[in-house]
Symmetry: C2
Subunit: 218 residues, 2 copies
């Protein structure tokens, strides 16, 4: 009678974890496409499963419900945003430049933009499973961006007559609204350029950071 050695067992488990992680990523990619195209309500787990050549039961082994799958898709998008908008490097101008970098990056990932646009609109209904997520997300984003504008005001880099709160609400609204117009007609506008134009009216910061600035050149 033989026993697997601990080393072999660990190897096998690691292999299983790795395989499972790859499957999860494939499911999340498929879910993003389905929810982006059909919305959460009309998008079905069956469609997601079909795209990864899985049964619905197999998919539910990785994500126990449609709502949990949606939450994982949104978390993944947030991780990406956090990488693009640095919150803790000490210079509030980095956050403002990060927003423009995010807009430029979004232009390269229409599926993610469509997902966000469709879901945030759907989730304005109080009974939507992502309603609380979006309410809290907007509160958080407004607080973060307002803090950056307030810090810029404190060291004289916010233009006279601009209030940090107003600049915040307008900046976020512009980012969201540009996405709708851009998704409907990608040739009509350059999201990063339009956002930067607005921000240049509000703040007097250095835009030429060689590392960060490269992304938004058009």
């Amino acid at each position: 009678m033989t026993h697997p050695t601990p080393a072999k067992s660990v190897r096998r488990r690691r292999g299983e974890y790795a395989k499972s992680a790859i499957t999860r990523v494939a499911i999340l990619d498929a879910a993003l496409e389905v929810f982006a195209q059909s919305g959460y309500r009309a998008g079905s787990l069956r469609d997601v499963a079909a795209r990864v050549e899985m049964s619905e039961a197999g998919l539910l082994h990785h994500f126990p419900s449609k709502a949990k799958l949606l939450a994982a898709v949104l978390d993944r998008r947030d991780d990406r945003s956090r990488q693009l908008v640095p919150l803790d490097d000490g210079d509030p101008a980095s956050i403002i430049r990060g927003l423009v970098r995010l807009a430029a990056s979004n232009a390269a990932t229409p599926g993610v933009v469509e997902l966000y646009c469709t879901l945030s609109a759907e989730a304005t209904s109080a009974d939507h499973p992502a309603h609380t997520y979006f309410v809290e997300r907007y509160e958080y984003v407004r607080a973060t961006v307002e803090q950056a504008f307030t810090a810029l005001q404190a060291d004289g880099r916010l233009r006279n007559g601009v209030s940090p709160r107003r600049a915040t609400v307008t900046t976020i609204a512009l980012m969201d609204g540009l996405q709708v117009q851009w998704l409907l007609d990608r040739g009509a506008l350059d999201m990063a350029r339009e956002l930067r134009n607005l921000l240049e009216d509000y703040v007097d910061i250095d835009w030429s950071d060689p590392h960060e600035g490269a992304v938004i050149e058009s």
Copy 2:
């Protein structure tokens, strides 16, 4: 054997038309609620019919398909917008003031805002039945607003350094983006006020029109 007189027949037909018109309006109100809450794809004709205490077959007698019903809901919304934004009174400033009036009016009709917000996002998918409607609508609105800014520039009422095209794209994006934030948290902002603040950065016009201005006082 009696025949209905022509006069009686006409009266009856008129009565039927009036009743049918009332039913159509009730269906359009119900459809607006259902599409606003669930979107077009997930919103069902059955739900719309139930709200007006009708069978689905009865509803299809008034609107032969779900897509036709959607088109009628959108047409009705457009009629309302046209009443608020005068296109032909000769003064381009009227259009700009009209946009602010529209934003103020929207704040009183959250169902209409939710409908528009959800549908425009859903319809960014090329296979959505309202895709062409929204693509063309944005083209038309952009052309109209740009024309107004261009006319204001010609008589020196557009601020230096502002391009009519840029002001147009930004104004429309702001209106759309404010709707998402407002639907998620109505206390967070005043849509008309934020829009007017942005427009005051672009144009130098008389805002105090006693007839038009009354609506947006907060």
